[in-house]
């Protein structure tokens, strides 16, 4: 990775393959995207071609069978999932029922708030969502001002793979329409944040008022295939 050190900015720019080499077996990996919008496709593709395994994947969904993130499951690279909606990929329920993987379901709002919490140093918070349902079983219920809430703990990751529209060379990011979704939140919540972008511009080329993810959250920038 010596070569990139002389690149513009602070040398956060890497190739997709270089970036994926930073991921180790057994990692907890957050992956941005909702349905097919805002997925870091190139990073996901490279991850499915790598030999990395025993992964915990923290994501909204898991694509479809043998497609996108779903490929990780098909390949047997997944140990467990933390997420929200796997109905688009029936292989998830099957693998879970067969005891092949562990799955922790969180309501979508709790899921993203728990990720934000990890990013901003909040270890736990109370939310009304899931009170009285199966998903709050064995969790602490507490009343504030006469209403019941469930205690949810922060969800942190070793690595976040996110998708943005443009980065400047410092790592400031902007997004594109509903491809934003979980990406800015996950960018705050992992030890190593790898952002796949369509375009890399010079510092100062993004409007300081419109930058969504400030560069201090981003460790590595890769240019996607598009």
């Amino acid at each position: 990775m010596e070569a990139s050190k002389n690149m513009i900015g602070n040398g956060k720019i890497r190739s997709v393959d270089e970036a994926i080499l930073l991921i180790k077996d057994g990692s907890r990996i957050m992956v941005g995207g909702f349905g097919l919008a805002g997925n870091p496709d190139c990073l996901i593709d490279a991850l499915t071609k790598s030999s990395v395994r025993d992964l915990t994947i923290i994501s909204n969904d898991l694509g479809a069978p043998n497609t996108g993130l779903g490929k990780l499951l098909t390949n047997g690279q997944v140990k467990s999932l933390i997420g929200n909606y796997y109905n688009w990929n029936p292989e998830v329920a099957k693998a879970y029922n067969e005891g092949v993987i562990d799955v922790k379901l969180l309501p979508q709002g709790t899921f993203v708030e728990a990720i934000r919490a990890a990013g901003v140093g909040i270890p736990a918070f109370y939310t009304p969502a899931s009170v009285g349902t199966e998903l709050s079983k064995n969790k602490e219920i507490r009343s504030f001002n006469g209403r019941d809430y469930v205690l949810e703990e922060a969800v942190h990751a070793d690595v976040a793979l996110i998708k943005a529209y443009k980065a400047d060379a410092l790592g400031n990011l902007i997004y594109y329409k509903t491809a934003r979704n979980f990406n800015p939140v996950m960018a705050m919540a992992a030890d190593l944040v790898i952002a796949e972008v369509d375009e890399i511009v010079a510092p100062g080329d993004l409007d300081p008022e419109c930058i969504i993810t400030p560069h201090l959250f981003v460790d590595v920038i890769v240019k996607g295939g598009k």
């Binding site: 929200n84 909606y85 796997y86 029936p90 993203v112 509903t178």
Partner: protein, 225 residues
């Protein structure tokens, strides 16, 4: 048992809910779930209704016309949509902040069952084939008004308005209104009240297709269809 064919029933339900929104005299923000709820948008009139999608957009426009779809511009049902003037984008934490924080005036959701006290079961049928919850639990607990859009009975004629939910619940006592092809119910002081009845239906018919006990509003109306 299906007095109204399913496709027609769904349209009727969507239209009835759309009318409620179209009649609003003030600006309202709504969130639409997958299925019948999504169809509601097609029938809303007037400029006072603004649609939020929990994947991060306010001011969601109609579904994108053929050939104009942008894979990166979708609603929460993964349909390609369009922009409206003054729309904006935000991340999922802000989106659910809007929902959980009570900033959404109404959410329309589908359901498998609604109990007589307003419990809603809509996220899973425990047959091991599905694993997913979505934003439904956040929506039913956070939106100011929760409107359930569902056919009155299952395909084999079993009541969906039940004494107690037999399926895993999404929220306890969260339903405010239920619209079926045969009737409109509201929850008032924890009790289910029949407000409107379809032209084809008699009160006896509604009673026979509804397991949950309900009151009949003194001002019971015929549902406009």
């Amino acid at each position: 048992m299906n007095i109204i064919p399913e496709a027609e029933a769904k349209i009727r339900i969507a239209k009835r809910i759309a009318r409620k929104f179209s009649e609003s005299s003030k600006k309202i923000i709504i969130n639409l779930g997958v299925g019948i709820p999504t169809m509601v948008a097609d029938y809303i009139e007037g400029g006072n209704v603004c649609v939020q999608a929990e994947n991060g957009m306010l001011g969601v426009g109609p579904v994108a016309p053929e050939g104009m779809a942008d894979r990166q511009l979708i609603n929460a049902g993964r349909q390609p949509v369009t922009e409206t003037r003054g729309c904006c984008y935000f991340d999922s934490s802000i989106s659910f902040g809007m929902i959980r924080g009570g900033h959404i005036d109404a959410t329309v959701i589908g359901a498998f069952e609604v109990s007589k006290t307003g419990d809603i079961a809509n996220w899973v049928i425990p047959n091991g084939k599905q694993l997913g919850v979505g934003g439904a639990m956040d929506l039913v607990s956070g939106a100011k008004e929760v409107i359930v859009a569902m056919t009155h009975t299952t395909k084999d004629g079993k009541p969906k308005l039940v004494k107690n939910c037999s399926l895993p619940v999404t929220g306890i006592g969260e339903a405010d209104m239920v619209v079926t092809e045969l009737a409109v119910f509201c929850f008032e002081d924890g009790e289910m009240v029949l407000k409107e009845i379809a032209p084809e239906a008699s009160l006896d018919l509604i009673r026979s297709l509804t397991e949950a006990e309900f009151k009949v509003d003194a001002n019971l109306k015929t549902m406009e269809v």
